[in-house]
Symmetry: D3
Subunit: 314 residues, 6 copies
């Protein structure tokens, strides 16, 4: 602010810039990149796209402003069109990035474009099915929570629903070969809700997560119909097998299978490729690493606390 | 971007729009809605209103810019006035929505307006009391955390305080018959802090939540004075009773009562309409489903780990 | 909206404003402040500064837009320069606030300015080292997670990385005597990721937090090299010693020391100034309050659940 | 910024606020208003509405982003729907304001709404005709200016076109009984282009204003087909007749009639209810206050300058 | 976007940066500046300040949102307080800049602050008087224009009013010794309205400019009561006297005096320190360089056009 | 807003959309376009680019924030780099548009890119020269206006300078074969200042326009050194020659040549390819259509007004 002498304003930026450049060059070299890397998809744009698609699915509740019957299809069509085109650009980025990862530094632009177009077209066709699934999720939440007064309240308030909207869209993109975009969409929901669902997880209809903070659902998890989870439930991997060189083997089935009509209470941790049989109830804070038969009722074995009474006693 | 032939740009949006319309119509019919539903309160606007009211309560610390003694009451008065009017519009929305839920499709506009006005006026009168309570919460945090250097730091940094500000305001609105708006305000804090306090919970003065991520406090919880919670504490319901048709009974007392001067450490889970007696300490990760007498000290019974030493051993 | 009679528009704001003033005055008096308090650093500005510095560290991945080799150092230099100057202003605020806390109501402006300048200059010099450390963290995440496909994906997606970027910058500021700014930066990451790392914690290279929601790392924690944590791990204090007047003693070493090559699974709680020996593995949900020797493998002692099978049985 | 003594920060705002209140009250009283006046239409919103409607008319050129054939009607329909509804609210404001001007302080809300709806519906039906007229104006500009390279350039660059787009829309609203909104739309164009066309002016097809700064076209002006104007042309009133009380008579025909195929060069001033006959050319800077027959060529009579040579002479 | 070889992306920015630096250094040297120049007031901030003060003067019409009687003084007081403080900072900049112009490179900060405070306090006290004057201007416009339907329409639509609001505020700042800020405020209005009033001009009550584009009013102009101007009127200087070194003499009286009740029609040019006597009417496009007695009616001497009829004649 | 019956909400948008589509199709057909037209450069982006380049030229005065000597070249380099790349994209648009105008519907993308790159590189190299010219313009304004207090004031306040900054940049782009972008940049200045300089005009150093509103300078105008213009001066074409088909011949020299050291006062109109000889002075409001020798002093021949005195007379 002041017109001060140089000794008080010179922050010595130049050497910092030079050191950072040296570190960048070294890092690029270590990854054998000689040219500038392709751009990644933008999280900011993906957030807008997913928000836009959510308004396409639920225009009356998540769309902005006063939609009436005359204008609603124009709104839906325009919002869909605009956001699919924005998504298409982001898909091109992931395809270019993937090509570079695969060693193809100069992928054919027209091929990338055609591939991105084909993916986005297939993705568009899945949207009605996603809305159908989400409708079942909304009913599951409404019916499963005594504090819920209406489906509408569930849709606009419940973090579990917000996370599942992102998941159902991200999962379709994951299946279409876009793991990076899918993951970014999942992390957007994770940041807002504390619910971390890997986009690879396959989740059936009527799914409900209550409260949700701290839930983790791993990449190869399979969840059946009418499953309900509470906060801080982990459906995780037990251990990560490595190959003979000690490098992690990626992509193999390593997370649980949760069959239909299972309820899992808060803090339960279920690890490994095990199966929780249909109709089972898993109590809070339990730790499960082997399969559970159908209709089981798992809870902590014994009273976990003793009472050390100080003061007058009981 | 390119001037491409139609086959590469036609995403087939029209059938998606039509399918989504069909799903919307079916969904409205299933809820016996024949007309467009009333608008819900806007989460975005409620967030602004609550942020505005927070600056009304703490203008020097949460208000923007350089307030001096001459201007501060103008700032407080104007911010209060503007945000109460914005809140009034949102209240009208909830009242119209509730009327529709109750089968009253064409509620009297003047009555809705008068009711919203009356509510907002009553709410305004509670603000000084909320500030008084929040002052006690600030002191509780400052005194309870060795890492806290000043009350000011607590106010601007601590997520527990942010959650409690929203809660104390939401709780007043809940008591005035606005469960939806109250819930939306609670979820705003939940998203930012990972602390999920249902606006129905009744919480006494000098309340402090440290760290906070994963805390869940249910709708009918009652918390006394000088209570302190750590992260991932759940004050929840044990089970949800259903009526003879299997439909959940909503609204009954189903969450714990925490009496004065209780401390509950991280990860403890306390479920059902039980009472934790005054002066008790609940250890981390314990699981409690029955009442605890005054001045108890509950912790895990036994060392919970064995040591499997590999390598050279101890 | 309506042109209503006064009785329907008068919200009685004036007495609320007056009551709030009375509460403010009382609160200032109780803290023996007679004049308006100095401004605190702004969380909004600090968020921008940290985001800016993150783009300085990783311009190709976190920087906006299309940087090419010709422009990248201009971008880095300008972004660095601009954000250091913004940080300098925030540092002045903390120094003024601290002076007031120390009873120095009218600190010398030139001295404050010189001190802030000196701090920001020292901080700038630490940035290349922070990038080096973060590079090791990125590799740790990539190598430790079978779901990770590339270093780039880790950098832009993983909440654990986002939290550690903020921590490594906040920790330098903490060491330079700015606990308040450091804490605000930590809380920004906490809100976005659910990961709560106190800026005082000293963390070695190759550090990785997976999923992360609910992790708490206390002020005096010391973490070695190649440590890996999962969600909901707490590295906390066991109890807070008070002086003879019952006032908490602040700042003493009260959190764990985690030596090199330790893995701590989800939900584990480690409390007090204990040491987890190098190479140990701590299982999920365990509760540890005493030191663990090197190369230990700690997990829950016994199967924690019984199976109460209802229905047809196994 | 500084913690200064009161004498340097007290700006004495309270008496200014009080004096301004007294002036407001006096002003309201002088206009016999006892209650708060109705809101006026918002210039900011009207600007957005007109910009939106311009993109409806020319979506490929004035619309944002990449429209393709599949999406364009959704864009047009949605943009039209959204902006007509926004316009409807502004129309309600003008109708309420007009009712108050006419002494009707409590107009019937349903009547106002129905009237606004009817007007906006009629207005919507005029849009295709406005586009047709504007297409002729674009051709007139392209054909009339040797510097124009394409119709597209004319549409996006020429201030004369921008002013005429606003005028053609404003004129329809003026005819539908909304002089205030119409005037606000005209002034938006005036501010951007320096071209001041009163929305009452009736202007035929193929109209072109080149450069345009300083053009003024009065309320009752009538302009035929294929008329071309240059900058600083005034089509104004000669004098304003007053009634016996000295009050101006408002609304009578007082501006020129310009017949087909007239060209008026820069700076010409044409005043009063006179007629410029078809096919005439009016030279720059002339001053005309009586009618001109068809096919006239009016220019300044004589060389208007003498040469006072200093220096060596010719 | 593309991963192109260097030859297609290298724009050769470095030499441009270097050349521009050389030019800047040369320019600073030519003005004998050895250090970085002080900041100038910000046009963007001044625009906001003036817009804010305009809402203080006319809160019901120019203020945002729904003000009611209860909230209006809070709004006025807060907006006034906030904008006066922002103005104070801008005034400090002008004072520092002026000090540097006067050769005082290191002006005393406290003195600058005290001076700025004193000026802004005096300025605040002039606001009620400015509102009174503007009320007379509004009446003059309403009464003088047959197209005006209400005072409110005049206030929100007429560019002449917008320009005069800025002028009346800028003129007070000019008189308080801030010619640069005053000029910036005048240029803001100039850009929006095409009306260029130097802030030094002294203008009496009941002043009205119709249409306005192209009006120029010079620094030492004096305008009496009830004066009306139309578009493109110039009240300018005739010539600029220079001293013996050929340097322009700045600041002397060189623009016209317009007495009470004068009307000046469009395009009239009045130059030099002459007087237009009270009650005179100056016709359009006339050129006046000598004084005009009271009650004169000046218009162009003779019909200025001949008719060259082509075609059939009259 | 209301839940009204359909008859009150149905605006009949569908037929309007259909009619507009029919008009668009007809318009495209009339221009023999069968496919969607290429995008035009964006005025909004060009405005940002030009503003950015202006801060590159004058970083201390037009750049945002507090630049110091250490950071200024980083700022200049980064701003230059970012804006040149944004400009490059806009240039690609104009080149594609031009190709389509020339009948080349599918231009080679790589060729377009290479051409745009080459142009932007050449343009970058002209920037230092533009700054040099602008420095002379600043001095001309400062020396020519008795109201100017400093060069800095001139730079930030004077609309004539703002217009000339845009012109000097637009003129370089015009010479590099980008008439559309150049025109858009000129119109940005025209809208803000009322000064309309065609980018084709060639203007020498030390050029000054005072006040400026209404100035028009045509495409083929040539202006020498040290020329000064006042408001509403037109340097235009006299007539537009057409070919044997009546189509305007575009691009031929048709505007005046103004030699060195000419002053042209407000409202003067100079038309056709004539020459105003060096050192001449052209008086206000004169109308010139033939060449004027050197050192002439042209003004209106005779007193242009008579005085019709009513009242007491002279």
């Amino acid at each position: 602010m002041a017109i001060a002498s140089d000794q008080h304003t010179h922050l010595d930026i130049a050497p910092v810039v030079a050191e950072l450049r040296a570190l960048r060059v070294r890092s690029l070299e270590s990854r054998k990149r000689e040219i500038h890397p392709p751009k990644l998809p933008s999280r900011t744009i993906l957030k807008d796209v997913i928000d836009g698609l959510a308004t396409v699915l639920y225009p009356n509740r998540l769309g902005a402003g006063d939609l009436n019957d005359e204008g609603i299809d124009y709104f839906v069509g325009h919002t869909l069109d605009a956001n699919l085109h924005r998504l298409q650009e982001q898909i091109q980025r992931e395809l270019r990035f993937k090509a570079e990862q695969d060693g193809n530094l100069f992928p054919d632009s027209q091929e990338i474009d055609a591939q991105a177009f084909s993916i986005v077209r297939q993705f568009a066709a899945t949207l009605p099915r996603s809305r159908e699934l989400l409708d079942t999720d909304l009913h599951a939440a409404f019916e499963g929570d005594p504090a819920a007064h209406s489906i509408d309240e569930v849709l606009v308030c419940y973090p579990g629903i917000a996370a599942v909207i992102n998941h159902r869209l991200a999962h379709e993109l994951y299946k279409l070969g876009l793991p990076l975009i899918a993951r970014m969409i999942a992390e957007i929901a994770h940041s807002l809700t504390g619910i971390d669902i890997h986009p690879g997880a396959a989740i059936g209809p009527h799914f409900f997560i209550d409260h949700g903070t701290g839930v983790v659902i791993g990449e190869t998890t399979i969840i059946g119909k009418r499953v309900r989870l509470y906060q801080a439930v982990t459906l995780g991997a037990k251990r990560f097998p490595a190959d003979e060189n000690g490098v992690l083997i990626k992509g193999n089935a390593r997370h649980p299978i949760i069959e239909d009509d299972v309820v899992i209470y808060a803090g339960a941790t279920i690890l490994g490729r095990i199966t929780i049989g249909r109709g089972s109830t898993i109590g809070g804070n339990v730790w499960i690493t082997r399969s559970i038969p159908e209709n089981s009722n798992v809870s902590q074995a014994a009273p976990r606390q003793e009472l050390f009474i100080h003061g007058a006693g009981i």
